[in-house]
């Protein structure tokens, strides 16, 4: 019999969960997807749970998605953003979190600019921790919802070919996606300008391709990433215009293929840079399904973590 509870009490990254965990999250997310399409989109499962959303870094989609997921599980929520907090007054991360936890909080959903911040916290506090993005490291719920959306579209991912295009170097989505897709048996390729592909990425067992047309011809699904200018301290690409010319996914490129591929994007989209509007809004695009599935997948993660014993 397949497992009915997660193997870990925190979701720190996809690297630290196993394939059974991922499948359990997907199965539960399916049930929650039915819930959020009801007239009354709410179940009382976590009414005895209080969740703190700690965002030390800006976010719109992830934050709203988590908050909706929490509310639809009937959890109580408190929100915190670094801009308006005591962090500015010099308080350490551990002190901030311990102060919040002493107000009886059961779970912490955190986004933090420092990679590994969640691991550090997990060693010091009791509450369940959900990583909502740590610097350029991992963004596990995004990877889960991406893979969940892919399975909805193409079925089992075993043997399916997925290419991750763009700023792989600065993307936490890319790393989590690679771990998640590989655990589900998919073949993963990364594609982008050489400056934005980390040097040792092949050690993760992914293929590397610098020619986007070859990458698109190879894949079944293309997950397109945003150029994260805010994380780039030096110039990695000459200009956005040049990037869009060489690596932008547009209708022409897709029409030249002899097959139809599915296009995804974790958002926020820079229309006309990494993806053109006609592609982003086409039938092959899963972008809005990804957002809808985000709530269901996050409900599943929070629900399952709350149920882990011991």
């Amino acid at each position: 019999m397949s497992q009915s509870q997660l193997s870990t009490k925190h979701l720190l990254g996809i690297k630290y969960i196993n394939t059974d965990d991922i499948n359990l999250i997907f199965k539960t997310a399916q049930n929650f997807k039915e819930v959020i399409n009801r007239p009354i989109k709410k179940v009382p499962s976590l009414r005895d749970v209080t969740i703190a959303n700690l965002f030390f870094e800006n976010s719109t989609r992830t934050r709203i998605s988590f908050e909706l997921a929490e509310k639809r599980l009937s959890a109580d929520t408190v929100n915190f953003s670094a801009a308006s907090s005591s962090v500015k007054k010099g308080e350490t991360l551990l002190d901030t979190v311990n102060n919040i936890l002493s107000m009886k909080v059961d779970m912490v959903v955190m986004r933090h600019p420092a990679p590994g911040a969640h691991h550090f916290l997990a060693q010091h506090i009791d509450a369940n921790i959900v990583n909502a993005g740590d610097g350029t490291h991992e963004h596990p719920t995004q990877a889960l919802l991406d893979a969940f959306s892919m399975t909805e579209k193409v079925g089992n991912l075993k043997g399916k070919k997925v290419v991750i295009i763009g700023d792989v170097m600065h993307s936490r989505v890319a790393l989590s996606n690679i771990y998640c897709l590989q655990k589900l048996g998919a073949k993963v390729m990364v594609c982008g300008p050489p400056t934005l592909i980390p040097k040792h990425i092949v050690s993760l067992g992914v293929l590397v391709e610098y020619d986007i047309d070859k990458a698109l011809a190879w894949c079944d699904i293309a997950n397109i990433l945003r150029i994260q200018l805010e994380r780039q301290d030096i110039k990695y690409i000459p200009s956005l215009r040049e990037y869009s010319l060489y690596y932008g996914v547009n209708k022409d490129r897709l029409n030249r293929l002899d097959k139809e591929i599915t296009v995804m994007h974790p958002g926020p989209i820079n229309r006309g840079v990494e993806i053109t509007s006609d592609v982003a809004d086409s039938d092959h695009s899963l972008i809005l399904q990804q957002v809808e599935n985000g709530v269901a997948v996050r409900m599943a993660v929070l629900y399952l973590l709350a149920g882990v014993r011991g």
Binding site: Q5, N31, V43, R309
Partner: protein, 197 residues
Amino acid sequence: MRDLGLTSYLCCCMARAKTLLKNDQFRLTLDRLCYEIIENYPAVNEKCIIGIQERGIFLAERIAERLTMLERGSKMNVGKLDITFYRDDYRIRTEPIKASETDIEFDIDGKDVILVDDVLFSGRTIHAAMAALQDFGRPSKIELLVMVDRRFNRHLPIQPNYTGIVVDAYDEAYVKVEYNHVEEEDKILLFSAKTAK
């Protein structure tokens, strides 16, 4: 109502499973339940039958199938309800539970709904099911049909409207209803403990 109180009480002391009801007898009981429903709703030609996951849905399927045969022309709405997310013991129970599918494709607003489950034990499942149903609309009436009523094991003041058989057994005993369209044959089994199944 078939009352198997004494026999089942005695067989509880034995380790092996005892068959309480099977095949023809099982089907007679099923028929009686259907006739009771028809008797109560002679003029209603659209029935809403909702089975509770996981094993109540099989009974709901059987009841709906039989009712369709008995009452040609009437419309049968059959749904599945999963109450996992409505349980009040999710964070305190020792064994985790897995969610199943909920599938109610019809409107229950203002309708008479018959909830169907195989075994009524503590009443907590039904309590959660009633809370869950309210998220789908406001039925004018909810009734409860069970194949097995373990009447002395209740934790909540909930009683069935339609009962297949009554079984009086210790708390540790476990009753399982099997169906010929799922397992090999229709039968109701009594085990001395849940681990023995």
